[in-house]
Subunit: 190 residues, 2 copies
DNA sequence: GTGTTTTCTTAAACTACTTTAAGTTTTTTG
DNA sequence: CAAAAAACTTAAAGTAGTTTAAGAAAACAC
């Protein structure tokens, strides 16, 4: 159940068998069917999720009610609304299972206790955030410096299984263009 | 010299007067004239910068040699290439003073020692990264959900002094359009 | 202070991508 | 497996933002 997250933590910091158990005592497994929400806009964001299996997306709604994919999370990624996690503000975004997903959840209060008990987890979360932040800035770079077509070619070359698993209209949204335009790109070549 | 960073750290974790001194012993003040680089693409990224005063930008170059602003940092923000900081890979982006800037620098090795000596700094950096990551995702949201004009109006409403201080073509680049288009928006109204 | 460089403006021609709308295919559900 | 819903395609008309190019204004350097 918790072997993937344990392995992930151990890539960054060390954990004794005893500490592994302590860590697990704060975690909870949750299963979400396709299209079920882990978090909805306006709710309190009380948990943070490590994806065990499946695909999860973060999205926002604009005034016209159009959903915009901000972020995908697959196996081995953490996802939450960091803006409102651990505050008393309502969430600004939605998190939803794209495929049936199993996640490891840790609550805000539980995380605080865990960090007191296993201070090395503070380092783990820092390192994970450094990677996520760097990836987010790199995405900004891609959005600005490449055309829609280049972004699509690059994405399907680097994440071919992803393009298989996720509906095209979500890929289009993530890459910042319309599903119709993606359809046209596919017709053109590949 | 170090009072701004000390105050910033104390907003997140506590520091005794003794610990403040320890922290300062790992830090170094650096001054950069306008247009001087803190980091250039291809170099090793060995330091992390806290902006004391002035404005600093992170940018990338595309194939045509056009500079794209990825990120600005002003007083109270940390900036570095997190992708290559503390690795042996060459930096993927440039960091440059837009205005004369004073920064507090900490080296990668120094940071490691600091974290051993003052474990609460691990928490500080985690919390700072959570904010930065959340802000980066929020920017992605704005880029996708608003038109160039809306982005410009929103930005100049929320950061009016910034628009004063920074050349317009950098603001345009940051917001994802051309300086000519920004000029047109300004002519239209306000 | 005058010459040079940097930044900003204007406007016309252009294009990458959107919108709309209708039809087809695939997946889901009872 | 039949009906309904969700996802994908095609194509024509439209538009938000780019490109190019040239001139004006502001900032900088000696």
């Amino acid at each position: 159940m918790f072997d993937k997250i344990i392995a992930h933590v151990k890539r960054f910091v060390s954990l004794s068998p005893k500490e592994e158990k302590v860590l697990c005592s704060y975690l909870k497994i949750e299963d979400y069917a396709k299209k079920k929400h882990l978090l909805e806009e306006g709710e309190m964001c009380t948990g943070k999720y490590f994806v065990n299996s499946g695909v999860v997306r973060m999205y926002t709604l604009n005034e016209k009610g159009v959903e915009q994919v901000i972020h995908f999370a697959i196996e081995g990624w953490w996802i939450t609304d960091y803006f409102t996690f651990n505050t008393n503000m309502p969430a600004r975004c939605n998190i939803q299972a794209v495929e049936p997903a199993q996640v490891v959840m840790i609550g805000a209060a539980e995380q605080e206790e865990l960090l007191k008990e296993l201070p090395q987890m503070e380092r783990y979360f820092r390192l994970v955030l450094e990677k996520a932040y760097a990836a987010s800035l790199m995405r900004t770079h891609y959005m600005f410096n490449f055309s829609a077509e280049e972004r699509y070619r690059h994405f399907s070359e680097h994440y071919p299984e992803f393009v298989q698993r996720v509906p095209q209209y979500l890929v289009a949204s993530y890459l910042g263009f319309t599903p119709e335009f993606l359809s046209m790109l596919r017709a053109k070549k590949g």
